[in-house]
Symmetry: C2
Subunit: 337 residues, 2 copies
Amino acid sequence: MSSLVNRQIRLVRRPQGVPQPSHFERADAPVPDLAAGEILVRNHYLSVDPAQRGWANDEGNYSTPVPLNSPMRALAVGEVVDSRAEGFAAGDYLYGWFGWQDYCVATPAAVLRRVTEKAIPLTASLGVLGINGLTAHLAFHKLGRPRAGDIVLVSTAAGSVGSFVGQLARIAGCRAVGVTGSPEKVATAVARYGYAQAIDYRHEPDIEAAIARACPEGIDVFFDNTGGAIADAARGLMRLGGRIVQCGTAATAAWTPPPTGPRAERNVLTKRLTWSGFVIFDHLDDFAATAAKLAALIESGQLIYDEDIVEGLENAPDALTRLYTGENRGKSIISLV
Amino acid sequence: MSSLVNRQIRLVRRPQGVPQPSHFERADAPVPDLAAGEILVRNHYLSVDPAQRGWANDEGNYSTPVPLNSPMRALAVGEVVDSRAEGFAAGDYLYGWFGWQDYCVATPAAVLRRVTEKAIPLTASLGVLGINGLTAHLAFHKLGRPRAGDIVLVSTAAGSVGSFVGQLARIAGCRAVGVTGSPEKVATAVARYGYAQAIDYRHEPDIEAAIARACPEGIDVFFDNTGGAIADAARGLMRLGGRIVQCGTAATAAWTPPPTGPRAERNVLTKRLTWSGFVIFDHLDDFAATAAKLAALIESGQLIYDEDIVEGLENAPDALTRLYTGENRGKSIISLV
């Protein structure tokens, strides 16, 4: 047994809805000795992600719920301090499922990506080079299939994924139009995230009319993180052969039973749409190559990213709660170093 | 001016809903001399298609409505009797937009396919080698992307397209399950159209439960000609990575405003579905090669087709009306020879 003490944030009560600090507790644990095939990672930065709500609730759509009284499931970036796994050595930097804690004993299966970029801060691995940027790039290019000149509409344009889709669309020669939830986010989307125009859906009496004004020629790619009324409006404005990329459904709180909305069959048929669903963890094999493309865009100054970094493990639960009030400005990160 | 008399069925009143014989009139017209670039086709067989309802109404989604007092728009197969167009000669057989009439003066743009199969009756060009069979093959293979072992669900399984999709699915090594609207059609779907099992949706109190029983492992390809309640049920039973091919929306009579149904976003996302729309006239370049594949399947006895042939031009309107009562058994065709 190592003499190290591992500070953890554990899930101790199961939330209904948005997790609150009261659902978590700080606790210390020993760091066990490594078994063969294991690595010991010292976390430098922890990720705070909207998806953690689903992992904490017991209605996980993609994964089993986090067991009570265990460290909160989280992505993190850290340094290997000891290794009994082939191919991993002390000093390697890794991005993976290392949890809200100081140290993680992991197997290589928990590693999503090796961090090799020397010129880019390590925090970038949690956002633009992590699942947010990778989702934006892979979903936009693989499912959205953009062509230069396309009109690209993005819901949650100033969000963790949308902030990159706007920029990637601009880089691909498209005209990006964003939908977001405040005048401030509209301004940021246009000033920083590549959008030619953005719409504040909370202050539009008729969202379909607003999108139609912003996209008078229609929409070729709809990158949808919300579903709901924005999606209904966008679907009616798609051009022939348009692509809808379903990347999230943030507008709908509960799916049992599914809420109703306008039927989509006729639009899919007459517009020859392709509507497809994207889940980043289906695309692990593309992570290294896609992160390299994103890193090159960052280094050349074409792609920017914003971060909201809070110091201290103990602040992770509060940072998670704040995600759902929209208070964060950029990728939410907990610094341990 | 030729001395030939061209008997026509003209649209003289615009129907609301299903066209009735009273919306049409028989009339004679002269056959004009050919201008440069034109061909004169003598129709042998006329097609009677559900889509003619949309062409006769003034709500055409794909095309302008048929002008009143002109021959009813229709596909037909016939023989070139005179040609002033390069590449066409008397004796050629053609499938194209030749209308409900004896003769058509056409340009090459009206031709969908040259009929070259000698061993297959000419009528086949209107159904299995026409848009029905071509739709089944192209939509199933290009959008459905079947793999051996896949579970394929088809709505309107005994219909003009579904009767081929079941057979093509079986040929591709899939298990085809059909949904259709009578005990008689269930029997035909299983006996003749390649379905391992079929469901009579009119006599099922719970269509989702019935589909789930027939597809206990879920659905990989949903070939949908109806939309509506059958589609809602199928969507919830799709497997990861499933494909929905939207080929028709027969279950919904009117789309202005669109009726509501359960929202699809969550299924599309969590099941990573690909839901796409198919319109056959986008695929003209594939007609010749695909018809050759279908013809080979017919000649080898792997693909069968049923026809409901009525003699006499004057019977075309009644044959159209009967399509919507489900009385026809096989592709509805009017014989002029």
